[in-house]
Amino acid sequence: MRPMDYIVPESAEAAVAILAERGENACPLAGGTDLVVDLKHAPGNINALVDVSGLDEFRGIDVTDEGLRIGSMATYGEIMEHPVCLEKTPEVVAASHTVGAVQTRNLGTIGGNLVTCVPSADSAPALMVLDAEVTLIGTNGWRRMPIEDFFVGPRKTILEPYELLAEIWIPKHTLGKPSSFYKFGLRKGQALALVNAAAALELDGDRIVEPRIALGAVAPTPIRAVKAEALLDGQDVDAKLLDEAAQIAVTESKPIDDFRASKNYRRQLIRTLTRRVLERSVEIARKRQEQDKLH
């Protein structure tokens, strides 16, 4: 790597100030699993790294009255071991488990994944179906938004210059919501998704309530399949309906041909994966209903 300053700021505000002062040649460093790789191959004009991985404002996982707060600098390893994540957001844990391999998951952070903003980012769909929000801190202070608004394009987020991703919030009403994540890669480990998909829904009797579907590696950013969601909303569950929703999800996607898979193959995967995550979410919701009856 070329010579580089390494700065450890005292606070999130200080980090923003240092980034603003150093200008475009400085960039934030989290786990480095994307950034250090990039810097080795194409360092551009970067000559300073501001290590935000240890900042208290960005660290930790905790439950408050509002919901679950996952610090942007939580590693996949930390998420996978956290008792509240395991109980209330098991599919965020499952998605974390599909990233790279153990060593990368111990370094890589969920926030770094969202900021890198590749279409295949594995943490995105599982968070999107739980109506997650993100908080940002920049030169104008803090702001908060739905996670969908954070993604702008391939490797492009809504972050202003010197602005940082601070937290991910999963609202109280979706904690424990029946959900499912499925990643299809060419191998189980160390493989990016050809397509990944997540769903979440509640059942009121047989009626589907608040359905959510999110897909990755099928468009310039991770997307919600809102038309498919609308088809399901308020309808009684049946196998044909779930498959119809999956077919609509295909039409909402804009998959591309690349060296990993063809457009047509991705279309097949979108339909199959969407159907599977919906079926699995229904199965979990049904189990929940049975348990509730017993209690």
Binding site: A101, V102, L107, K188, G189
Partner: protein, 159 residues
């Protein structure tokens, strides 16, 4: 910048340029050439070391990040008298061919067994998914790890 670490139980320090990776510091500044440089981008796992109880790709971690941390490398496994149970089992099973993946395989396996001495085959495969062996002796490696776990559970004094 001055980086001070505990490596395999010993306090070590070095003055390194800030962009130095932990791998480079270990190999070039501390003379610990056990962890290998393979891909340099997080794919192969031969640079794996344990930092404060979790395994990481030392080619992706800046040395400055490890300041004050407790680091275990492959050099920390054997004692003057004995090989680590994993090393004994790797030898018995012929689990290494050229051996280049060995330092990372053994450290990943140690990190697994430290937390889960009785892993299933699936758990071993999952734990070693980030360690590539170009000689492709995976079956023997997995067998060796499972037997080492059994050995370590039987002789806790040896661990």
């Amino acid at each position: 910048m001055l980086v001070e670490l505990t490596v395999n139980g010993e306090s070590r320090s070095a003055n390194v340029p800030p962009e130095t990776t932990l791998l480079k510091m270990l190999r070039e500044h501390l003379g610990l050439t056990g962890a290998k440089l393979g891909c340099d981008v997080g794919d192969c796992g031969t640079c794996t070391v344990i930092v404060d109880g979790v395994s990481v790709n030392s080619c992706l971690m800046l040395a400055g990040r490890a300041d004050g941390c407790d680091v275990t490398t492959i050099e920390g496994l054997a004692t003057a008298d004995d090989l680590h149970p994993l090393q004994q089992k790797f030898e018995e099973h012929g689990a290494l061919q050229c051996g280049f993946c060995g330092p990372g395989m053994l450290i990943s396996a140690k990190n697994l067994l430290d937390n889960n001495p009785d892993p299933s085959v699936f758990e071993v495969r999952d734990a070693l998914a980030g360690n590539l062996c170009r000689c492709t002796g995976y079956t023997k490696i997995i067998e060796a790890v499972i037997e080492a776990g059994e050995m370590m559970s039987q002789e806790p004094a040896n661990v």
